[in-house]
Amino acid sequence: MPADDLSASTAARNAPEERLLNLVVALMATDQGLTKDTILGSVSGYREQGDSGASKDALEKMFERDKESLRALGVPIETIGDRLEPDDLRQARYRVPTSEYALPEEITFTPEEIAVLNLAAGVWGEASLSADARSGLRKIGSLGITVDEPIIGYSPRISLHEGSFAPLQRAIEQCRVATFPYLKPGDETPRTRRIRPLALAEYEGRWHVYGIDTEIEQERTFLLSRIVGAVKVTRESFDAGLREGAGERALQGLEDLARRQTALLEVHPGTEAALRLHRRGVPALQGIRVPFVDVHIFADELASYGPEVRVVDPPALRDEVRRRLRAALDLNGAAR
């Protein structure tokens, strides 16, 4: 490395966050924008490093990285090209428009809304989403709103145990195609699926990712618990317009599925099965009809009720329940 590179010990004096903040302050204080040269020569953090011999090239690279970091934090850095030579970035000016940076002042929150938001921010057991929610709440809180009586008596929780959630959320935000190994029940080995992820949906306590399977160009919903390996976010991007209303479509898809698939069950009255299933079902001539989304997950539940429920129809569900009961008997039936 050249001697004048940033590895020089002088560079360590200013913490990177100081430089980032000085940059934001400088870019917000200007209306017409600052050129890169002005920034590198006057904003504290760059200026000192330039003074102590860092090369222009190294400073420019640092500036590029800082811009990326700030944009990732949601700071809108606008590039105003030179009118005569729009492609020449040497003359470009940079600024942060306050109107896009700041929470719009016309968005106001009532004390009642803040109380509900407080409750909403507390639902995440998972650390990074919990931190995101708290951070968002803090920004809204600094608008200086008085808070209503907190909503007491409730502790709603969203649990999240799938490692695939975070990369999929990132892929959705960035509109990038993602791949993951997906193991269908009954299959021996997982198959790699490639999707344009559009939404994540929790339905009946389980998380699903909804997207377009690029192999068949059709919308598909996948259970996160069946993703058995790392999610890869590719460089291939897709049109953000696909995301419009995707959450609603994902939910609609799951609800339609549940409407189309129903099981006919005979349930013994007064049992645990009766309590849990009657809430979800409608009475039929012979027993009750209960909608379900996934035959394997429903079979798990029905098998757990043992003799409390008998599956009449459909045969596939019936077979899955019998298979589970047989296997449970085989495993626990032998004397030890």
Partner: protein, 339 residues
């Protein structure tokens, strides 16, 4: 979150400090402790952030160092002597930043769950908030959807009891136990994995108890004012030292599906790709349901009674499917309700 337990990266520190200025302005004056708690950092970290703020400012005119009034400043005496923070000069960043896509997404999903609470969903508050958050985000948040659940009579009545501060009475039917009539001072409603639980002081048991709301029927409000509302509820599935130890064996791959049980595990030992876990449950035979539901994956090792119960349970279930015309209804598959 435990304050200060989180390591904070430079960009995260920058993000926090962007929030710190509008926060301090809105507070006027605040203790280091309160600010640290609000920002989920330690007091040492908060102090360092505030001190660092005072070297941030507008660029000086080219070639000149910044003037004092170009920098943020605080009341140093107040900080040093009274552990209180007060901003005395601000040179920008007065506005709260927009929410990032992730912040908005995390709050939006939380709001969807809050929508299923009685009294919240119908009020129109949620719809307004969803729109405001979407507008207040710097870029489009990923759609994180939480399917809505209808408010049924039981949930609605429990809500009313919580608001009015009166006990409720109901019939409770725990699995494999006879139905009992309970009078309960409601303390908290827990919603986890789509299941609703009422935690409260049970007049019958003279202790805090947790009730799955699906198993509650004939619920009515009483005139009895609650007397144990201030009681600190235990963790949702905390068994304390009561109950019995059951040893189960299962393939490692199944472990995520047994989370609810393994959270209560006393110890887990790996044997090759199998795990043996000792868990504490009120009634060891109740694990027959787990063994049947995870058919062939969960083996109950001991006590022997629980293992036998699991085998009997699966056998009785299986015997319903003799498939010779009408299903047999022997004595075996009629579950006898016993305590």
């Amino acid at each position: 979150m435990t304050p200060g337990a989180r390591p904070v990266l430079a960009t995260e520190r920058a993000a926090l400090m962007l929030q710190l200025v509008p926060y301090l302005i809105s507070k006027g004056e605040v203790t280091v402790a309160e600010a640290a708690a609000d920002f989920d950092v330690s007091e040492t970290q908060m102090r360092a952030m505030v001190e660092k703020l005072t070297v941030i400012g507008r660029p000086g005119d080219a070639g000149y160092w910044q003037m004092a009034n170009d920098l943020f400043d605080i009341d140093w005496d107040l900080l040093d002597e009274h552990d209180r923070i007060s901003l005395t000069n601000a040179v920008g960043l007065e506005h709260a930043p927009r929410l990032t896509a992730r912040e908005a997404a995390a709050l939006l999903a939380g709001l969807q769950l809050a929508r299923s609470l009685p009294g919240v969903g119908e009020s129109g508050v949620i719809a307004g908030l969803l729109a405001k958050l979407a507008r207040g985000a710097s870029s489009a948040p990923a759609d994180l959807i939480v399917a809505p659940e209808p408010v049924d009579d039981v949930r609605g009545s429990v809500d009313e009891a919580l608001r009015r501060g009166v006990a409720v009475s109901f019939t409770y039917k725990a699995p494999d136990a006879p139905a009992t009539t309970r009078t309960v001072d409601p303390v908290k409603v827990h919603i986890a994995d789509g299941q609703w639980y009422l935690q409260g002081w049970c007049h019958l048991r003279q202790a805090m108890r947790t009730f799955h709301l699906d198993r509650v029927s004939d619920l009515a409000l009483t005139d009895i004012a609650i007397t144990h509302g201030e009681e600190q509820p235990p963790a949702l599935f905390d068994m304390g030292e009561t109950g019995n130890i059951v040893r189960i064996r299962f393939p490692d791959a199944v472990a995520p599906l047994l989370r609810g049980y393994l959270d209560r595990a006393q110890e887990t030992i790996a044997h090759g790709d199998l795990t043996v876990a000792a868990i504490r449950v009120a009634d060891p035979t109740s694990l027959k349901r787990l063994a049947a539901g995870r058919g062939g994956e969960v083996e109950i090792l001991e006590p022997g009674g629980a293992r036998e119960a699991a085998a009997d349970w699966a056998r009785a279930g299986l015997e319903q499917y003799t498939d010779t015309g009408a299903p047999e209804r022997g004595g075996e598959d009629a579950p006898a309700p016993e305590g």
